[in-house]
């Protein structure tokens, strides 16, 4: 599987994403600087986590206006797989590739800890190696992860089965108790209507090795590889 990772000033989890992809695919991704206007021909484009432009205007807003975004839009519309993690998810909503937006966590604090999620849809290219309804554990590390969409948009998202992961308690209850940031309908990750673009707040790339405390994140990357192979 060939892959590329977009790098903006302030991106800081590009190496984590590259490590995860290399671990499962054996191939190091190409790093693409935000000033580039052409992304190489790849099977997967990752928009990684970080604080692009310091999150100074609104998380992801400035990055979404970078030169590289035009080609990202083109490739996404042609069906190439695009994965946005954390700040990458925020950037993808800012570009309009994904619906909704991400606001400040309801508790107002930056939060870094493991969360549990239920696999709501395992029929996507991002989640096909998970069992339906499987409860998995990923870490989060964000300040602005509170997903919001207006009622019409939300209905479309839900009706089309675009929600891939929902925050839950360790027992699998989709409740406020298991919701770290106030996201509407406990949405942790979702795809576009075509299913080739996904954004999620938690960090699968930081739970890929038993030494790090788990491998649930690795399965997400294996889902992507399986499809490409």
């Amino acid at each position: 599987m060939k892959s590329a990772i977009l790098v903006f000033p302030g991106t800081n989890r590009e190496r984590d994403a590259a490590d995860a992809i290399k671990l499962v695919s054996g191939k190091a991704p190409t790093m693409v600087w935000h000033q580039e206007t052409d992304i190489p021909d790849v099977d997967l484009i990752v928009v990684p986590g970080g604080f692009s432009y310091g999150d100074y205007l609104r998380a992801g807003a400035i990055a979404a206006r970078s030169p590289v975004i035009a080609d990202l839009m083109k490739k996404a519309k042609s069906g190439i797989t695009v994965l946005g993690i954390c700040n990458g998810f925020q950037i993808l909503t800012e570009t309009g590739l994904l619906p909704g937006s991400l606001a400040r966590n309801t508790g107002l604090d930056f939060l870094c800890h493991d969360v549990h999620m239920k696999v709501d849809n395992n029929q996507t290219r991002f989640s096909n190696k998970y069992a339906p309804g499987q409860i998995i554990r990923f870490p989060i590390a964000h300040h602005d992860g509170n997903y919001f969409a207006d009622p019409d948009t939300l209905k479309k998202i839900e009706d089309a089965g675009q929600v891939v992961f929902r925050y839950c308690t360790p027992n699998g209850d989709i409740s406020m108790q298991g919701n770290p940031n106030g996201s509407i309908n406990n949405i942790a990750g979702l795809t576009n209507s075509d299913g080739n673009v996904m954004g999620l707040m938690p960090h699968p790339e930081n739970l890929i090795d038993p030494l790090l405390g788990g491998t649930d994140g690795r399965i997400m990357f294996e889902s992507l590889i399986g499809r490409a192979a």
Binding site: P9, N12, Y56, D109, F110
Partner: protein, 742 residues
């Protein structure tokens, strides 16, 4: 008398009074006049005040710092550069240092703490090392003080705001509360980075006529006299000093780090130095003086954020995220291109010279012309008078009431100094970079070395200020021993340490006595444990209205783990395993002087601190590390604050597995469970390994006591009533979030 421009007319007249306002004592001011044989210009006075203040010159502590052991098999570079450099094998080094940002953090907690993190990160990447971990040792006033909550919230948000955006995991640290920090909090920030041993960058300028380049963010009026402010006591007017606190921009720092890494790889860097305390002044003087070269700066080329900044302001600004370097002129275009790519300033602002002068030009006029070596070398150095602290008498026999052991444990596990710090470290990204093997909340954090499967580094930061107050010598020893012990308990081989010495006003003999004795204790422990001090920082004048802080010599240590398979955690791993106390004498615990029990349960801070037997410490630690490596023990935790009871409770909470101990034969149940005797580890083992373990302890000459076994889901201490782990955990986790909400 001078070819120097006297400055514009708005500049004040330079005299001894103005010198005093710059923190220069009358004899120090006279020393300047003797040195340069004339009255300094206003800009020169500013430069002297920046170079000769306590923060930059270490004038009160230098004599004593020189006594610390700074060399060792693994030490590549000890104190003197931006950070210490220690060999970790495979051609790689770890570069680390701890530094205080106390005074600014009290005045403006968010920015003060944020720029403390920024400064220590710069110290590390200036040397060519990519930061891989940070820690923070924080001391606040008593929880009930009206300012404490605001300061905790601001400092934690500031540390998180900077480190999270920069992209380095914050993996450990300390948070303590005590009324003696009501007027002066402590924010000690540690950073460690990884580099190839043959790609370390230094600040020593080389070559005459080479361009001196300014890198990074623009210069503004923030932080002017920050280092001078950090070299004086606080009084009522301290709030007015807010403009001396710098403002941090972690996004720019991240870009600066990436740009510096690219620049260093390009071969363009001859010497590099970050602009920290006293900004442009300190960095330029240090580069020139170390290289036996002069430096001429033309301030008209310095990128400024504000119009019409004077030479004085520019030389004293502590604006953040800036670097100074000596450039290989052949690489100028390549170097400039890298900084333009990252959207940062790159300006040639000076040149190296062979005249050993530090010259500063503004608007075409020379406003400073000083001997560069003497600016640093001739800084005052004091042998300040000191008095040895009076030792505390042992506790009286009747001082300890008989209390319910279970109730006392529940109180202590939820007390301000022992409650879980989860509320703090969940606001720090501790997982970024994907190498955090042991997360915060353990004895030592473990971070895998990037690019290796098995190799890792362990980090711990420790000091027990109440011990240091009661006996600075034993307290200094204990800080080192506990740090070394925490690294050992994880299975790591301790390599080296950084010391961050926080004290009150050194002009008072009793404070100076604390400093002297603590440094002597640190030195003795570091020598005994082969744990050299490779970097550090001194913060004095932590004192408000004659109330000094507790003496707080923080020790941050780094250990090496060759194989992650040979490590230990504090969580119990299975039921029905044997629990032992290793390093014990005949008794489970004896020493309650200065214990948390005494303070929290008896409302008494009295007695001597527990003594540290360094020879025994070394023997026990080496034994424990061997047992971990040979997989003879299944869980390991050091026994420190709160004694055996707290150690067992933490092991139970971390695992969800319970424990039941025998009834100690000790005369005092309280001392057995809450005594803070040093040099001890609680460990678990499988039944079948009992003989092997006892054999090893006997051969090593280390005491061992079997104290109980692991059980289902309760903690039962001797004959005390059992406590469910859920209750323990609830108490442990409740205090911090409730305090911050209250």
């Amino acid at each position: 008398m001078s070819k120097l421009d006297p400055g514009n007319n708005s500049e004040p007249e330079v005299n001894a009074v103005l010198g005093a306002e710059h923190g220069l004592a009358p004899d120090e001011y006279q020393k300047i006049i003797d040195l340069i044989e004339r009255v300094p210009t206003f800009t020169e006075l500013g430069i002297f005040s920046a170079m000769w203040n306590e923060h930059c010159s270490y004038k009160s502590s230098k004599k004593w710092l020189k006594t610390l052991p700074t060399t060792g098999e693994c030490v590549i570079l000890g104190p003197g550069e931006n950070a210490g450099v220690v060999d970790i094998g495979d051609g790689q080094v770890v570069v680390f240092k701890m530094e205080s940002h106390n005074h600014p953090s009290y005045i403006e907690p968010f920015q003060g703490a944020a720029t403390g993190v920024g400064g220590i990160l710069r110290d590390v990447f200036t040397m060519g090392a990519r930061p891989i971990a940070t820690m923070n040792a924080l001391r606040f006033g008593e929880p009930g003080h009206p300012k404490t909550r605001h300061l905790v919230a601001g400092v934690v948000a500031g540390i998180g705001g900077y480190g999270n955006c920069f992209g380095v995991p914050t993996v450990g640290g300390e948070v303590n509360f005590h009324k003696r920090y009501n007027g002066n909090i402590l924010v000690n920030a540690f950073a460690a980075g990884l580099a190839d041993a043959d790609k370390i960058f230094l600040s020593e300028a080389k070559g005459v006529g080479l361009p001196v380049v300014y890198l990074g963010a623009k210069t503004g009026r923030d932080g002017i006299h920050g280092a001078t402010m950090a070299s004086a006591e606080f009084d009522e007017s301290i709030e007015e000093k807010r403009p001396t606190v710098q403002v941090g921009d972690p996004f720019t720092e991240k870009c600066l780090m990436e740009a510096c890494m690219e620049l260093m790889a390009s071969g363009a860097v001859i010497a590099i130095q970050d602009m920290g305390a006293a900004g442009l002044t300190c960095s330029a003087v240090e580069m020139g003086a170390k290289g036996n070269l002069g430096i001429r700066l033309d301030l008209d080329h310095v990128p400024c954020r504000e119009d019409a900044m004077t030479a004085y302001e520019m030389m004293l600004s502590e604006s953040q995220e800036r670097m100074l370097m000596v450039l290989d002129p052949a690489k100028e275009e390549e170097a400039r291109g890298i900084f333009e790519k990252w959207g940062l300033d790159f300006a040639i602002v000076g040149i190296t010279t062979d005249d050993l002068r530090f010259r500063v030009v503004r608007n075409g006029i020379e406003v400073a012309d000083l001997p560069i070596k003497e600016l640093g070398d001739e800084a005052p150095e004091y042998d300040r008078p000191w008095v040895a602290p009076t030792p505390k008498a042992p506790l009286e026999a009747g001082a300890i009431p008989d209390v319910d052991i279970a109730d006392a444990l529940l109180t202590l596990i939820g007390s301000p100094d022992l409650a879980s710090r989860r509320w703090v470290w969940e606001q720090y990204d501790h997982l970024i970079q994907g190498n955090t093997i042991v997360r915060p909340g353990s004895d030592a954090a473990i971070v895998r070395v990037t690019g290796h499967d098995k190799k890792a580094l362990a980090f711990s930061s420790d000091v027990t200020p109440r011990y240091c107050e009661a006996d600075p010598f034993e307290g200094g020893k204990q800080a080192v021993a506990e740090c070394w012990r925490n690294l050992t308990a994880s299975g790591a081989t301790p390599l080296a340490a950084s010391d961050n010495l926080n004290f009150g006003n050194p002009e008072k003999p009793e404070i100076m006595g604390q400093l002297v004795r603590a440094v002597e204790g640190i030195g003795e422990a570091c020598r005994a444990l082969n744990f050299p001090v490779v970097s550090g920082n001194v913060s004095l004048y932590n004192e408000t209205k004659d109330e000094p802080i507790l003496p707080t010599p923080t020790i941050a240590g780094v250990g090496l783990i060759e194989d992650l398979a040979n490590t230990a955690r504090m969580a119990f791993t299975a039921e029905d395993e044997i629990i032992v106390l290793v390093g014990a004498t005949d008794s489970w615990g004896t020493h309650l002087g200065q214990s948390i029990f005494l303070r929290e349960i008896c409302d008494l801070e009295d007695g001597p601190p527990p003594p540290v037997d360094l020879e025994q410490e070394l023997r026990t630690g080496n034994l424990v590390r061997g047992l971990i490596h040979d997989h003879l023990v299944t869980a390991v935790h050091d026994c420190s604050d709160g004694g055996l009871a707290i150690a067992l409770a933490e092991m139970a909470i971390a695992s969800g597995i319970g424990a039941s101990t025998n009834a100690p034969a000790d005369p005092s149940q309280v001392a057995a469970f809450f005594g803070e005797d040093q040099g001890r580890y609680v460990m678990t083992l499988r039944l079948e390994d009992r003989d092997a373990l006892w054999d090893r302890c006997e051969k090593a000459g280390v005491g061992i006591a079997e104290i109980g076994k692991t059980t289902a889901s309760e903690l039962k201490l001797g004959e005390a009533k059992p406590i469910s782990i859920e209750d323990l955990r609830d108490r442990h986790e409740a205090w911090f979030p409730q305090f911050m909400k209250s």
